[in-house]
């Protein structure tokens, strides 16, 4: 049995043993409670989508898991062990890799140098960079992910947004991530580029990685997600499996659901003709 198989069967046999588990986690900055009573489970080979509007607490949540901030209440366990991360390095060392919106790539450095940044391979008594091996591995890993970059010497800044996103994801996977946090990977991308990135997200999941996919686009989330968590004002507003929700419901929930409906009634009172029914609008959007 290969590692991947045992990974998969483990995940299948023990669906109740999540790799990262948050229980009632809260985070306050002084008198501001950015996150309150959030519970979340991330399992291997599953994509957990975290949705929410701006300011809903998505960033705070990933910063806690990525080790940039510590939480102030509740518990977070990684591999069944309770943890408080003091630095991003500790989070990385427990197999949690984060691909941030800004991607953590240096734009003027070449693709292969970026791929191995912080984890350079060296050889010989003078610890010289093993350029040949690094270029070969970077090329292999990127090809495995289905990305073709003909010239690994070109600066990362010359790649398209989707390609850069994929380089960052491929790097995280190569360096042994068991949990991959993707912070709005499709936010700045066009339709085709988003599709490319979503394909890699699915590939990462199929490789047995637990993916946390942060987004405010319910369409992207519903395409790939196994499990959805919607945050609102720092609380979990919805936590459901894919089987129990439709895209329409998810969209409504994301868009603000009942609040938005109330708003539409209010606006209708002011200008009856100008405001469409929210439900109609969403359904029309679905049909497109």
């Amino acid at each position: 049995m290969t590692t991947t198989e045992s990974f998969a069967s483990e995940a299948a046999n023990s669906p109740t043993a999540p790799i990262v588990h948050l229980e009632d986690v809260g985070k306050s900055y002084g008198n501001i409670q950015a996150l309150r009573g959030v519970s979340l489970s991330v399992r291997q080979g599953e994509i957990t989508c975290v949705l929410g509007d701006n300011g809903a607490g998505k960033s705070t949540l990933i910063k806690i898991i990525a080790g940039l901030h510590d939480y102030t209440s509740g518990t977070m366990s990684v591999n069944g062990e309770e943890r408080h991360f003091a630095s991003p390095r500790e989070s990385l060392d427990s197999g949690i890799a984060t691909v941030y919106q800004d991607l953590a790539l240096a734009p003027l450095m070449s693709v292969w140098r970026n791929f191995f940044l912080g984890n350079e391979l060296t050889r010989g008594p003078f610890r010289q960079l093993d350029e040949r091996a690094m270029k070969r591995i970077a090329n292999e890993e990127l090809t495995k992910m289905g990305i073709s970059i003909p010239d690994l010497e070109q600066p990362v800044g010359k790649l398209s947004g989707g390609q850069r996103q994929c380089v960052a994801i491929a790097r995280a996977i190569h360096f042994g991530a068991k949990v991959l946090i993707l912070d709005e990977p499709t936010a700045a991308l066009g339709v085709n580029q988003s599709g490319v990135v979503l394909k890699y997200v699915v590939k990462a999941r199929d490789a047995g990685i637990g993916v946390i996919f942060i987004t405010h686009n319910p369409h992207h989330a519903y395409l790939v997600g196994n499990h959805f968590v919607v945050l609102k004002l720092g609380r979990v507003a919805l936590d459901t499996q894919r089987a129990d929700i439709t895209l329409e419901q998810l969209t409504t929930e994301m868009a603000g659901g009942s609040e938005l409906e109330a708003l539409s009634h209010e606006l209708r009172d002011l200008a009856p003709d100008a405001v469409a029914d929210v439900q109609d609008a969403i359904q029309a959007q679905e049909k497109e």
Binding site: A104, P107, L108, T143, P150, D151, P155, G157
Partner: protein, 348 residues
């Protein structure tokens, strides 16, 4: 794989591999290399003494005086910072060694070691304060520039009663130290100052470190995007403090050269304005002021251009007043070339 068309790895047909020429043109030092060639040919034609092989040693010496400091200044600039105190730090180093050895009547080598410690400490202080406060390096090193400039004069006057350090030329260890830092030898009739040899060695080592080691990769990364570097585990603070300490180390070396070439006396007011010359050499050599891009070899070529122009103007029999105007023009041209290069590299 049989079906290359359906393979997800099919190359994007909009991207073609870059030609060798295009790759060569995208090297950071290419602009300065072309500039150096043009200036060389120009002065070979315009200034007859420039063609005299005996003057080659003098030109290289002028270049090395700038070039030794251009090495760490280029590295620091690639790492995203610059150091306005680098010029006076050289004087501080020379004064420290001279004054310490004289005042405490100890072997010259002990003074040299104390100067090394002081120089490294100044660099570490710059780096530490920068990382601690998050202020721009312009402000932090402008502060240390004035502090060192003031201390140089004040401490010298306090210790020696004059504006120069006391001569240490008759003290123990002076001869050996002078051999190391400021001797000269003949090579095929050309007088070569030892600092030229040191300069070449330093450039070779620093270029190797920058391009072929992990530290070098980290220097590019902290200058290119410090937040990104930190996120993947690069010790950003250590790298930046280390770069400032490298400036300290080279300032120590240049200070020793200054001390021993002037027979053990250093003028306390020296060095002001030199920091800009080092920065010019690095920028002309293709280093981006904003960091993340550049080369050590480029800084060396920048220093060589500086040496050639400085002496070329003299050899051509022109008024040396023109030199600075020439230098400024070159700086502007170089930065424009660099800007174009950067925009091209970042173009999507």
């Amino acid at each position: 794989m049989a079906s290359t068309i359906t393979s997800p790895a099919t190359a994007d047909d909009r991207v073609s591999a870059r030609s060798v020429g295009a790759r060569l043109l995208s090297r950071p030092e290419i602009g300065s290399l072309v500039g150096a060639a043009v200036i060389l040919v120009f002065f070979l034609i315009a200034a007859p003494p420039f063609r005299d092989i005996n003057n080659t040693g003098t030109i290289l010496y002028q270049a090395a005086l700038v070039g030794v400091m251009a090495v760490p200044v280029a590295l620091l600039m690639i790492g995203g910072e610059f150091d306005l105190s680098a010029g006076v730090a050289v004087t501080t180093s020379g004064l420290t060694a001279g004054l310490f050895a004289y005042q405490f009547s100890v072997n010259v080598w002990l003074g040299i070691l104390i100067a090394l410690a002081v120089s490294l400490a100044v660099g570490a202080f710059n780096g530490w304060l920068l990382m601690r406060t998050g202020l721009p390096s312009f402000l932090v090193t402008l502060g240390t520039f004035f502090i060192l400039q003031g201390l140089n004069i004040a401490v010298t006057r306090l210790a020696s009663g004059a504006v120069a350090s006391n001569s240490i030329s008759d003290m123990d260890g002076f001869g050996a130290a002078q051999k190391v830092f400021a001797s000269e030898f003949k090579l095929g009739g050309v007088t070569i100052k030892i600092i030229i040899v040191w300069w070449i060695v330093f450039v070779a080592i620093a270029a190797w470190v920058l391009l072929k080691t992990q530290i070098g990769n980290w220097i590019f990364a902290v200058g290119g995007d410090a937040a990104a570097a930190r996120a993947v585990g690069v010790p950003v603070k250590k790298v930046k403090i280390g770069l400032f300490m490298a400036v300290g180390f080279f300032a120590w070396f240049a200070g020793m050269q200054l001390l021993f070439v002037q027979n053990g006396v250093v003028q306390s007011g020296e060095g002001v304005g030199k920091e800009f010359v080092y920065i010019i050499a690095a920028v002309v050599g293709g280093c981006l002021l904003t960091g993340g891009y550049g080369s050590v070899a480029g800084g060396a070529i920048g220093a060589l251009i500086f040496g050639m122009v400085q002496l070329g103007v003299v050899y051509a029999g022109w008024n040396p007043d023109w030199f600075k105007a020439f230098l400024g023009t070159m700086l502007l041209l170089a930065t424009i070339v660099n800007l174009v290069v950067k925009n091209r590299a970042e173009a999507r």
